[in-house]
């Protein structure tokens, strides 16, 4: 067995969900139980292989990178382009192995959870098929060793998210959300594509290894160093779309229209993680400037969405904005150079965010069941104002939810504490090196906000008294197939799986397996050197930990004071700061802004073009037609009068001449003789005169 065997095994992991998808699409409906056992079984097997690959990679083959490559197309030398040869390949390094395991863990748990959550859905088998292709698409991204294959997986993820968000397409809002997600992603994808094209034009390959080698040898994209920064930012544009970064984050909250397990999948493993994964993949080619852009985009995203999350009342919307905020953290972490912690936060966040979504799914399921029992179809089962007190009825969901919330808030002994702490320490170190102090300040502020709104969610949902006593009697804990995944995810949100030291992850296995990769950009363009940066992080570690504990504690305390003990009236603050509150409830009015600027602009443009079409183009055409008709009228008159007149005149003259001459043609020889004589006489006199 060698590292290449791991690639073969990874390919099995990759292709099993695809096989599941095909089987479910063709035979799903005919199988007993609509084939959920088949798809789930396939995914479970794939999970087993993925975990085995991860274990082997971390132990036996640490440091070895297996790959499998094949030439897809080879046009040799193409005039005007140069050599056109595309080699595709799969690779399994530490990053890919960890990511694959994360994707498979989340996907498997979501599959099991879905058996309970979706059990009487209209398109049950198709739903499982879509989950399969979603997993497959994400694995293509994870295993690809070149930008081309990565882009293929990228678009496949876009497609499968479209299919799943629009799963209940009978609902107008769901089909709209699916389209919004797809189109918004396309905007980012365009940037990614252009970045990719810049790289290919220069290096004539999509292979990341080759591109890195080319950069290291001093070759610059399009021959200029600034193009390298531009290309890096353009590739990051793809991540802006997929990872729902500002300004393309608007699709993610709407994606809540899909089934809740799908939200868990999208938010944890298969979609938004792709963007962060892409940044991690291309990290070596990012210049200091590009990283600065990335850090500030992440920061803006984290801040905006955290403030929005405070004012939302839909349980899934709060979680959606918290996801965007946490993604902002990851991107910011990568941007400041805290590569290891940025990616580690992706892994830990995947576990507790999947848990939060599945937990919210469990709550919604219970609320929906209770309302259904009461024949109540008007109350929103997702509104936290209709909940409360669910702790006693749903103890497992509650405790799992609390663990996830502690993790996302950054409370010690959880996984989230370690990764978030690492990112914050990274921002402090970054500020120390570059002087951008805004980044850590906002970073800590958002950490406090996160703790506040997450505990607000927990308190309003599970603590206090239920909004409706009668309904409360009908609330039940979800079935085992749903709560067991919750328990597993809760366990995975604890520190031990990532590092033995709960306060410092720098010696944990993930940190060891994922050191920041060496940069390949020229020295004067590169960000702070990895070893130096690590030193800075080490120094920033203690103050960062204390600060983050303080802000998290403050946030939690404020949440309890406001919503549990009711010492502070949230309503009064909301009314006294009505414009701000309104602004946050309206999600910073991004949808309205884009609706006005982008959609309205497009509509205005089309109206203008329509006007140009109908007035100017049609006018020109009609004018040409009119002019043609006019000239043809004139020419027809000319024909009828002049030409026909000439023809008729000549005919008339001939006729008249004939008429005259006919008189002489009497048929009588005597007349002819008379004429002859007369003519002779006339001729005689004529010649006499001459």
């Amino acid at each position: 067995m060698s590292a290449d065997t791991l690639v073969t095994l990874s390919l099995a992991v990759l292709l099993l969900p695809l096989a599941g998808f095909v089987l479910m699409m063709f035979f799903g409906k005919k199988l007993p139980r609509q084939g959920d056992w088949l798809e789930t079984g396939i995914i479970t097997i794939a999970l087993g292989i993925a975990l085995y690959v991860l274990f082997q990679k971390m132990t036996t083959f640490a440091g070895e990178v297996g790959s499998l490559r094949f030439t897809w197309i080879d046009f040799h030398e193409v005039p005007g382009i140069g050599p056109l040869k595309i080699v595709l390949g799969f690779t399994i390094d530490n990053l890919a192995a960890i990511m694959m395991a994360v994707v498979m863990i989340i996907s498997t748990l979501v599959h099991y959870f879905s058996i309970g959550y979706m059990h009487d859905d209209v398109r049950y088998s198709r739903y499982f098929g879509y989950l399969g292709i979603f997993t497959f698409s994400m694995l293509v991204i994870v295993l690809a060793d070149n930008l081309f294959l990565l882009y293929v997986g990228w678009e496949l993820v876009g497609l499968s998210s479209y299919l799943l968000i629009g799963h209940w397409y009978e609902k107008k809002s769901a089909s709209n959300a699916a389209m919004k997600a797809f189109i918004t992603n396309r905007v980012g994808d365009l940037g990614f594509f252009i970045g990719m094209a810049i790289m290919f034009t220069t290096f004539h390959t999509f292979g990341l290894t080759e591109i890195f080698a080319g950069l290291q040898s001093g070759q610059m994209p399009l021959g200029s160093e600034s193009w390298l920064t531009v290309a890096g930012v353009l590739i990051f544009c793809g991540a802006i779309g997929k990872s729902a970064q500002f300004p393309l984050h608007v699709w993610l909250p709407d994606a809540m229209e899909g089934p809740t397990p799908v939200s868990a999948l999208i938010h944890a493993a298969t979609m938004v993680a792709a963007g962060v994964y892409l940044v991690a993949r291309v990290f070596p080619l990012l210049t200091a400037d590009a990283l600065m852009v990335i850090a500030y985009i992440g920061l803006t995203t984290a801040f905006i969405s955290a403030t929005i999350a405070i004012a939302q009342n839909d349980i899934k919307k709060v979680l959606a904005y918290s996801t965007i905020s946490q993604l902002g953290y990851m991107v910011m972490g990568l941007g400041v150079g805290a590569y290891t912690y940025g990616f580690m936060h992706l892994v830990t966040h995947a576990m507790f965010k999947a848990g939060l979504f599945l937990g919210s799914g469990s709550v919604i399921h219970a609320m929906h069941g209770a309302m259904h029992h009461q024949h109540d179809h008007h109350t929103d089962p997702q509104d936290i104002r209709n909940m409360g007190g669910l702790r006693t009825k749903m103890p497992v969901t509650f405790w799992a939810f609390v663990i996830y919330t502690l993790a996302i808030s950054g409370v010690p002994l959880t996984s989230g504490f370690m990764s978030k702490d690492g990112i914050l320490a990274g921002t402090m170190a970054f500020a120390g090196f570059t002087g951008h102090t805004l980044i850590p300040i906002v970073g800590f502020f958002v950490a406090g906000l996160t703790a506040f709104y997450m505990f607000r969610l927990v308190i309003l949902t599970f603590l206090g008294a239920h909004a409706d006593e009668k309904r409360f009697a009908h609330v039940h804990e979800s079935p085992k197939v749903m709560i067991i995944p919750l328990m597993i995810l809760a366990v995975l949100s604890v520190f031990v799986f990532y590092s033995w030291n709960p306060l410092d992850a720098s010696h944990g296995w993930i940190s060891q397996a994922l050191p920041r990769p060496a940069t390949v950009v020229p020295e004067h363009l590169a960000a702070t050197e990895a070893a130096e940066f690590a030193e800075g992080v080490h120094h920033a570690h203690m103050p960062a930990m204390l600060l983050s504990l303080t802000v998290a504690g403050l946030g939690i305390a404020l949440a309890f004071a406001t919503y549990y003990w009711k010492k502070i009236s949230a309503d009064r603050i909301a009314t006294s700061l009505a414009p701000v509150h309104r602004f946050l409830v309206d999600k910073w009015r991004f949808d309205e802004l884009y609706g006005t600027v982008v959609v309205g602009g497009t509509l205005a443009l089309t109206r203008a073009l329509n006007w140009v079409d109908s007035k100017i183009i049609d006018g020109a055409v009609n004018g040409a037609g009119w002019a043609t008709r006019g000239t043809s009228f004139i020419s027809s008159r000319f024909d009828a009068l002049v030409i026909d007149g000439i023809v008729n005149l000549s005919a008339y003259l001939s006729g008249f001449g004939g008429l005259v001459l006919r008189k002489f043609q009497t048929g009588k020889v005597q007349t002819y003789v008379l004429f002859t004589v007369a003519s002779v006489l006339v001729l005689y006199f004529v010649f006499r005169m001459v």
């Binding site: 009497t666 048929g667 009588k668 020889v669 005597q670 003789v673 008379l674 004589v677």
Partner: protein, 120 residues
């Protein structure tokens, strides 16, 4: 009295000039032409033709007698030509009468006004 006129004419005869012959011939020609054009009966038209031919004969003979056409003086050429004309006129009369006979057989008339099928 009569004798004197007769004698006067006889006395004048040697003074007959070419012009007199030509005048007679012209009168005869005009009469023939008049007959051709005005007569309705085809036979009469043929007779007109004979007059025209004889007018021509008189011209031929007159020029032959008084001529000066030849450097050597008057010759017999015209008289020979007149004899040819007379022969031809006889042949023509025979053919023309045959045609008239045919016309009569076909149209039951010899009125030339009613025979205008040349018009068609």
């Amino acid at each position: 009295m009569q004798t004197s006129l007769f004698n006067g004419v006889l006395a004048w005869l040697p003074n007959v000039q070419l012009a007199h012959f030509l005048i007679v011939s012209a009168i005869l020609f005009a009469l023939g032409l008049y007959g051709i054009v005005t007569r309705r009966n085809a036979i009469m038209v043929l007779m007109g033709v004979e007059l025209v031919l004889n007018a021509a004969n008189i011209n031929l003979i007159a020029f032959s007698r008084y001529g000066g056409l030849h450097a050597s003086g008057p010759a017999l050429d015209g008289q020979v030509a007149a004899i040819f004309v007379i022969i031809l006129a006889a042949a023509e009369a025979a053919i023309a009468l045959a045609i008239v006979l045919n016309i009569y057989n076909r149209f039951q008339t010899v009125n030339v006004d009613e025979v205008s099928s040349l018009k068609e």
